[in-house]
Symmetry: C2
Subunit: 445 residues, 2 copies
């Protein structure tokens, strides 16, 4: 991590760092599959028209054009031109619509892929990074219970990672919107946008914004801020909201939904999932539950996993596909684990055993040993040259390979743990390394 | 596969098809790691200057530009502009040079990533596809033995895949070049280019080309074609070459190298690796061993795995990095396995068990059952609604989930195999499905 990316915003990992990233990805994959999510991949490319459908983000999109394009080929902001996707939600929505006839709904999918943002180079932000998304999408309707389930899935997934303590903060758009309406504030989107800035600019500035931007009175602004200040690890947030004395049907609905999420989560993942009524999430398409996640002690890093419920991820004629989903910023997380967390792999290579050579002709015999060991899942390299044993051992040491295998001219075998120096007789058909040496482990340096 | 890609050249798989692709990728990853190869990923993006260094391929490159680029930003064929990589070799060469100080040489790496080619849309070729590459790269020198080893690794890797019979065809550039020089043909690159067309245009046309393009006499052309006609599954090719009566030092060297590869391979993977003296491989940077691989019965598909030895993958001042590597066209292979091979996953979802609900309140209890099963690696979904059991079973059936779990009001458990209808008492703490049902398997339909 001392190394600088050779192209700003496009980080690349060394083999040891990549093992940490693979561990994170493999763990997420395993957890998602244990919860019944199917994997898909979508193409890296969408049409510009598809990507800009929601507007506002065209600055962040990388357009594509063939270097030797012919006259008349679509390019730039032409809706038919091609561009790299900037998230996995837009491609997933298109995939659902295109393949609706082949999918069983509710469709549960996870997707771990790179996305690209055409940020200005000098901003020092990632321009290529990996996201891990899970969504459940219904055909026409999707029971609210999936909002509860996703909070549990994500608590399980993040809890399986070596990332320390984290908090999933949950809010509900209906709750906030109903509260604002009950207060008499009708431009709820503008109120949400102002409240969303709470962490950045503080309550006084937000109050000013509410008054100047949304036409709120001081009392209304104070009430909106009071709502946003409520955070509880149990369902007591509901009483605190009630105590503010606002009445609205949508507020009731939101309170009931958020109570259900927090109640389930406090049973199954106590302390991990909290109600935080300041969470707004910028994206317009969320319509109910919204989630954010922070690493305890690294709150400044921002949310490492966010999402929510949307009543219409996509539509096809009269058919609407509602969903609920979450997205983990894998690259941002891994980058932090490597830099601050000091996470690393216990060795740089998968190899557990180097088979040493007595002489150059013993290479074939050494391949037999390697094949026997590999058949039991042990990663093996065979030395390429019959150098002095000391040199072959140093080769293993330099690569972090823990064991060196020797075969005598008489055909007997010994294996040496080059860390301890212990050397013992061994049979290629039965020897295995200790479980912790079979594969590189992830440790804190 | 009846479905057409919504964007020509950018295929996307359904969840079941993706399971086949994942199986291929996971199997390759496992085999490469068992042979001691480390994984890396390089960024999708290189500078245009880096990509076009070898010339000739600019038509196939997708350039990138921010949709709202500011004046003066590099674009198009400007060497500083960004573009998508078209293979994994160019990025790997750059990675080796940039990180040479952090890598242990010989550096063994595998890389499974997407690449892009800006083909004309109407060509019906893949414009996005996945490649799986392995290379061993030395610092200054790399023993020839790695050429032998890579043939064995690739035979092992491809042999682990459900692709049927395949043949790795090996040749050696030194052998061919030495032979042509011994014949008196000095423009060996031009001779190779002509011979490379053998499969496409036949021997008569190649003879014409050799005479018109390289100034060969009829005898020389006939001898070059005689060399290219030699194919043996053992080392007898050497005698056949000798019988042609050509002498050259480089020819001797090439014969010795190819003999070593074929000898080792015929011991360890009999019949799989053959000497084929017609193999030329277009790329100029190969300097010794060259490999191609065809699926038996699908020769028209072309090579699914190709590579070779290069004396200089990259250089850094006086420092040269020779290597030997192979690249598998994963997308092309998977596409063929799905279409002609009829390969499919035994179910569409990872889920082995659906936990049914008696009533809506039993959802929490059902989560306990699910958690107990997941702890033993069993993928589980919990029903979202307490519909009639018949409806919950149909839900499982529609998704291909083989088992449905029932918990009575008294807290006893039963599990039903919905394929056979068998229903038995089961304990969440100990029940496991038969091994073949634990995860989706890959089968031929």
């Amino acid at each position: 991590m001392a190394r600088k990316a050779s192209l700003s915003g496009f980080p690349e990992w060394l083999p040891n760092e990549r093992l940490v990233e693979l561990h994170v990805q493999d763990t997420l994959r395993r957890t998602f599959e244990l919860h019944g999510f199917s994997n898909i991949e979508t193409r890296a490319v969408e049409t510009v028209g598809q990507l800009l459908r929601k507007g506002e983000i065209d600055k962040e999109v990388y357009g594509l054009s063939r270097l030797q394009a012919e006259e008349g080929e679509a390019a730039g902001t032409d809706p038919n031109a091609l561009a790299l996707h900037f998230d996995l939600t837009v491609p997933f929505a298109r995939y659902v619509v295109e393949n609706a006839g082949h999918l069983a709904f509710p469709f549960r999918r996870y997707q771990i892929q790179k996305v690209w943002r055409g940020e200005r180079p000098q901003d020092g932000r990632f321009r290529e990074f990996t996201q891990a998304d899970i969504d459940v999408v219904g055909d026409g309707a999707l029971p609210f219970r999936y909002d509860v389930e996703l909070a549990l899935v994500i608590a399980d997934a993040l809890g399986s990672l070596p990332i320390g303590e984290f908090t999933v903060r949950v809010n509900n758009r209906k709750l906030a919107e109903g509260f604002y309406r009950g207060l008499g504030l009708e431009d709820t989107a503008a109120v949400l946008r102002s409240v969303d800035k709470l962490e950045k600019i503080g309550p006084d500035k937000v109050a000013e914004l509410l008054i100047s931007e949304t036409g709120a009175t001081e009392d209304q602004a104070r009430a909106a801020l009071a709502l946003a200040s409520i955070r509880t690890a149990d369902t007591s947030f509901a009483e605190q909201v009630r105590a503010l004395g606002v009445q609205h049907e949508l507020l009731d609905e939101g309170l009931a939904e958020l109570t259900e999420v927090i109640e389930a989560a406090s049973r199954r993942a106590p302390g991990t999932v909290v109600a935080d009524l300041s969470i707004a999430r910028g994206l317009d398409y969320y319509t109910g539950t919204v989630y954010e996640t922070v690493l305890v002690g690294h709150e400044k890093l921002g949310s490492i996993c966010s999402g929510g419920r949307y009543e219409s991820l996509a539509s096809k004629g009269n058919r609407v596909f509602p969903g609920v989903g979450l997205s983990i910023g894998v690259s941002r997380l891994v980058s932090r684990l490597l830099a601050d967390g000091g996470l690393q792999a216990s060795r740089d290579v998968p190899t557990a055993v180097l088979v040493a050579l007595n002489d150059d002709d013993s290479w074939y015999q050494a391949q037999d040993v390697a094949t026997a060991l590999r058949a039991r899942g042990i990663a093996v390299e065979v030395a390429a040259k019959a150098e002095k044993f000391g040199k072959q051992i140093r080769y293993a040491d330099r690569r972090g390979i823990p064991f060196v295998w020797f075969t005598t001219a008489e055909g007997t075998h010994e294996v040496k743990d080059i860390r301890s120096g212990d050397q013992v007789a061994a049979d290629p058909q039965s020897w295995t390394p200790p479980a912790e040496d079979l594969q590189p482990g992830i440790t804190t340096s």
